[in-house]
Symmetry: C2
Subunit: 214 residues, 2 copies
DNA sequence: GTTTGTCGAGACTGCTAGTCTTGTCAAGTG
DNA sequence: CACTTGACAAGACTAGCAGTCTCGACAAAC
């Protein structure tokens, strides 16, 4: 997902993806890369300045100067387009920092995550995506992979710390991960409390102290 | 909200609520209490065995044997009906236990909360409600009050503990609250990890250790 | 130049929230 | 009892949106 290859998200038999190996190699008109990019860009832009308002396929197609069918030729659902548009720009290999000290690594990870929610474009995109995922099971599934990637990165960061003895041997890493992302999403979606540097700092400290060795 | 009085959720000038004091006291046919209860019951039942599937107003009205207009006469939106149906049965005064020991109180609170997500009826109702809230700003606002009530109860429980010296003086109570509800909702909605008694136990311990005095 | 697949455009279906209409029924009022 | 007023059930209607289908044009291979 992302980049120039349409690659229409998981489990979708993409009519363009290399065309089934046997039989004809490929005849007919080739796909229009410009249109492909235009769709992704349009989706991202609409996502960015939508702040909560649902983004419609019609709007994406119109903004991209493209027929609706062209959108559905390459993506299986609206959600797939939106997620593709987001991940197109987001770092795909979310790799936690590795400074050799758990506190530093964890704090950097948490602070970066929290900070991303302050950038208004990312924020509205993420918010809209979350809202869409609530109604679209297909997108919800795609989001699972998205969130799972991030959880894994964080878990490995913690795992390294535990191996160095900075966390108790029996610390529940998955629970720590979920405390980070739980607080993040809970505050992000409800908006009742800030996701500022102070919160990142205090959360980091509480997590390490609460699960430390000794 | 809840109980026998329609009371059509916050900020809605309920056409029945006592009828404006001045002018006529009340003429015409009285509201049908049976229909009112039938709507609430129908909503709750549909919510309970919907598991994610959206609950439509048509379905509620049909199940209750009531005209759609009757629903809209007493509630301003679908979300209001759903939330009213849920809070109708849920304990309105969510009061945390007060045993005199933070660990006991907090563990009971967390375990109860987590456990509620295991009852299939509550679970599907809550899940559907969360999904609906994502698309319906009106409902989202109502949910804010719902979640705020619970956060306050938890916060007070923690506050008592802090006064007894079981938490550091500078512990960030709001952050602890959000760690509990963050983990809860994050796991509840994503379903990637369990909300079992073990998780409740470990979370409790981590929170107290991580924010303890000394 | 024929075949095959893509393109833009937009009509169309199906679903649902919320409104409006209609005819009926119940509870007070004179 | 007649009349007024508001609640009621039923259901037609509007509006918005996802996803499908159709159509005529176009581009790449053979």
């Amino acid at each position: 997902m992302s980049g120039t290859e349409p690659q229409a998200a998981q489990g979708h038999d993409d009519p363009a993806a290399e065309q089934a190996p046997p039989g004809r190699p490929h005849t007919g008109r080739r796909r229009n890369e410009a249109a492909h990019r235009a769709i992704l860009d349009a989706a991202l832009n609409l996502l960015a300045d939508s702040d909560g308002t649902p983004v419609t396929i019609d709007a994406i197609a119109r903004t991209a100067g493209v027929g609706k069918q062209t959108v559905y030729r390459w993506w299986p659902s609206k959600g797939a387009v939106l997620l593709d548009a987001l991940t197109d720009r987001a770092d795909q290999d979310v790799r936690g920092p590795d400074t050799g000290t758990l506190r530093t690594d964890l704090h950097a990870f948490v602070a970066t995550t929290f900070d991303a929610a302050q950038r208004s474009t990312t924020a509205s995109a993420l918010r809209t995506l979350a809202r869409e995922a609530a109604r679209d099971p297909h997108l919800a599934e795609l989001m699972q992979t998205f969130t799972a990637t991030r959880r894994t990165a964080l878990r490995e960061l913690l795992s390294r710390g535990r191996e160095r003895g900075e966390l108790a041997d029996d610390a529940d890493l998955d629970l720590i991960v979920d405390q980070v992302y739980g607080v993040f999403w809970y505050r992000f979606l409800l908006g009742h409390a800030p996701l500022d540097p102070g919160a990142a700092e205090r959360l980091t400290d509480a997590l390490i102290t609460g699960n430390g060795s000794a």
